[in-house]
């Protein structure tokens, strides 16, 4: 697919461009600051944009803000945000809309997982960093409906929230796909999420549930 990369670190940007090219993607534009991003996207009409959260001009959350603006200017354009550390103010909320991913930067070193996440996001799915999901499912939150989940159901929910398909979850947990499907139905029921056959929508509902059930902040 055709990809735009926005990252101010030259080393990282070049590394990522090389990686993406080697696996057969085309990097149509690579920019080093958030201000250049809208023009680059408008010109090259990519299938996916990879954006670093912290970029010039202000080196705070320019990348995340740019992602929000791109989402308004190009609804449905898949985007993957990369961050040096977990922060959620501008990013995680977008995951619930689909076609959006949020990963820690060093996940690119797990090449297969990373490429898998890219593919999911480009197809309108989601990818949420395991560390973020871990925080969302933390023990301190056991006083909510989450406490009614079994350990196995929590494992399934965690992987679903990371963005994996039923098949992906099944492989990772060494379960049959039907078993995963059964767990999934139980989870949705316990969390009072309306049943739907569309996997994407179920994932988004689960992520939304986790986000809304977050304690203060």
């Amino acid at each position: 697919m055709r990809i735009v990369v926005a990252d101010d670190s030259v080393l990282f940007r070049e590394g990522l461009v090389r990686l993406l090219t080697e696996v057969g993607h085309t990097v149509v534009a690579a920019v080093g600051d958030a201000d250049q991003l809208p023009a680059a996207v408008a010109e090259s009409a990519p299938d996916l944009v990879v954006i670093d959260v912290r970029m010039p001009p202000t080196m705070t959350d320019d990348g995340a803000k740019a992602a929000g603006e791109l989402r308004r200017a190009h609804p449905g354009l898949p985007m993957l945000l990369l961050s040096q550390h977990v922060e959620t103010r501008h990013s995680v909320a977008l995951v619930a809309e689909g076609g959006f991913g949020y990963l820690l930067k060093d996940r690119v070193l797990r090449v297969d997982d990373f490429l898998d996440a890219l593919t999911r996001v480009a197809a309108g799915g989601s990818a949420l960093d395991p560390q973020v999901v871990g925080a969302l499912l933390a023990p301190a939150r056991r006083d909510t409906a989450l406490s009614r989940l079994t350990d196995r159901e929590r494992d399934v929910l965690a992987l679903v929230a990371e963005g994996h398909s039923n098949a992906g979850v099944a492989t990772r947990l060494h379960l049959g796909e039907r078993t995963v499907e059964t767990h999934m139905r139980a989870i949705l029921q316990k969390l009072d999420i309306p049943e739907t056959a569309d996997h994407h929508r179920r994932v988004l509902a689960a992520v939304t549930y986790l986000l809304l059930a977050r304690p203060a902040g």
């Binding site: 070049e14 040096q84 550390h85 922060e87 959620t88 070193l109 090449v111 023990p139 301190a140 902040g217």
Partner: protein, 388 residues
């Protein structure tokens, strides 16, 4: 005139005593004039000074009543200051009232000030004093201040000079208290500056770690992965590169936790998110309530570290069944409270946190009665000006 009269009276009384002793001794023992004269001189010498003082006071009371009353007022004020019932800084008012000179002003000189740098008794710097009616105040060779009269005449000058001399103690105490206050204020602001600088430095280091070292390690790992792609999967070299990249990932995790210790990066999401993530792994339930107000970096990190340390202590020592963490913004202050229902009996002084709190002008307290639990509380002044 009173002075002259007093000496005259003293002389007369002394002469009388001398005569009485000479005469009395001569009559009693029939001694020679030499013995009587010597004894009389001795008696007079013993008596003359105390006698003079009393005579002078008595004369002053009668002949120069006003001066006597003024001096008494100042002396009473000095006693009150000594007893702690009057503030030494009132000396200016007392001098004004006593001398009936509302325009009288006291100018104090603090150490290290310039030749013309005076302050008023409240410590406010004032413009150069007028030339007329000055009474310099000295402590040893150094000039420590001035009293400037509003109404000047030779008589007033003389009177004021006497009274100012009597009031030397409260004047000097006021000056020393000002010095102390200025020194404390200096220490406080320089500490606040240091904390501010340290906070900025930590933030800069945190960014350097994330944006510099960490990115470079990731980039190096990507190169290794790129090389690895050209190798046959399952070959020893392939596995070797897997191990190398895993080692890099471990370094990145380490850097991330190092950066977290410098400054928790979740603070980028605001204090509520940072504290929520702090207590996320708590083995006991935590009731968390954090006001979401925009805060300057130095306050956000201060509040974060207060909670982090109190929380860690509670988990470690308190054997608590439940924790409460509250950050509230009321009017012009932030209140942070970390309370547990554990065993109480304080867990040490928390010196570093206390220092952090006081350095931003706040107050810090631990209450930890045995068996009732521990409450750590800090109140930090912060006026919400709105906006971000």
């Amino acid at each position: 005139m009173g002075e002259t009269l007093a000496w005259l009276l003293t002389t007369l009384v002394s002469a009388g005593v001398f005569a009485a002793v000479v005469f009395g001794l001569g009559a009693a023992v029939g001694a020679s004039g030499a013995v009587g004269g010597g004894g009389a001189a001795f008696a007079v010498a013993l008596l003359v000074l105390p006698l003079h003082r009393r005579v002078q006071a008595a004369v002053g009371r009668v002949v120069d009543r006003e001066r006597y009353v003024h001096a008494a007022r100042i002396q009473q004020f000095v006693r009150d200051v000594r007893d702690g019932t009057a503030a030494p800084e009132d000396v200016e008012t007392v001098l004004r009232d006593t001398l009936d000179d509302p325009g009288l002003t006291l100018w104090l000189k603090l150490p290290g000030s310039t030749a013309d740098g005076y302050v008023d008794p409240s410590g406010t710097a004032v413009a150069a004093p007028p030339d007329g009616g000055r009474i310099p105040l000295r402590s040893g060779p150094a000039e420590v201040g001035l009293v400037v009269l509003g109404r000047t005449s030779a008589r007033r000058q003389r009177r004021a000079r006497e009274l100012v001399a009597l009031a030397a103690l409260p004047i000097e105490v006021s000056r020393l208290r000002l010095e102390l206050r200025a020194a404390l204020e200096d220490a406080r602001t320089s500490r606040a500056r240091l904390v501010q600088a340290a906070t900025e430095e930590r933030r800069r280091l945190e960014r350097d770690l994330h944006d510099g070292a960490q990115q470079q390690i990731v980039a190096a790992g990507m190169r290794l992965r790129s090389v690895q792609r050209r190798l046959e999967s399952g070959s020893p070299e392939h596995r070797e590169l897997d191990a190398a990249v895993e080692a890099l990932e471990a370094s990145i995790a380490e850097l991330r936790s190092l950066a977290h210790g410098l400054r928790p990066s979740r603070l980028d999401d605001g204090l509520p998110a940072a504290l929520a993530s702090l207590v996320a792994d708590s083995p006991v339930p935590v009731r968390l309530s954090v006001a979401d107000v925009p805060l300057p970096e130095v306050l956000a990190t201060t509040l974060y570290f207060v909670v982090a340390e109190a929380y860690a202590n509670a988990l470690k020592h308190a054997a608590a069944g439940e924790l409460t963490v509250e950050v509230a913004h009321t009017g012009d202050a932030l209140t942070v409270l970390v309370a547990d229902d554990g065993v109480g009996g304080a867990h040490g002084p928390m010196t570093s946190v206390r220092d952090r709190v006081t350095s931003v002008g706040g107050e810090f307290a631990i209450e930890s009665p045995d068996g009732v639990g521990t409450t750590v509380k800090a109140v930090i002044p912060h006026a919400d000006r709105g906006g971000r």
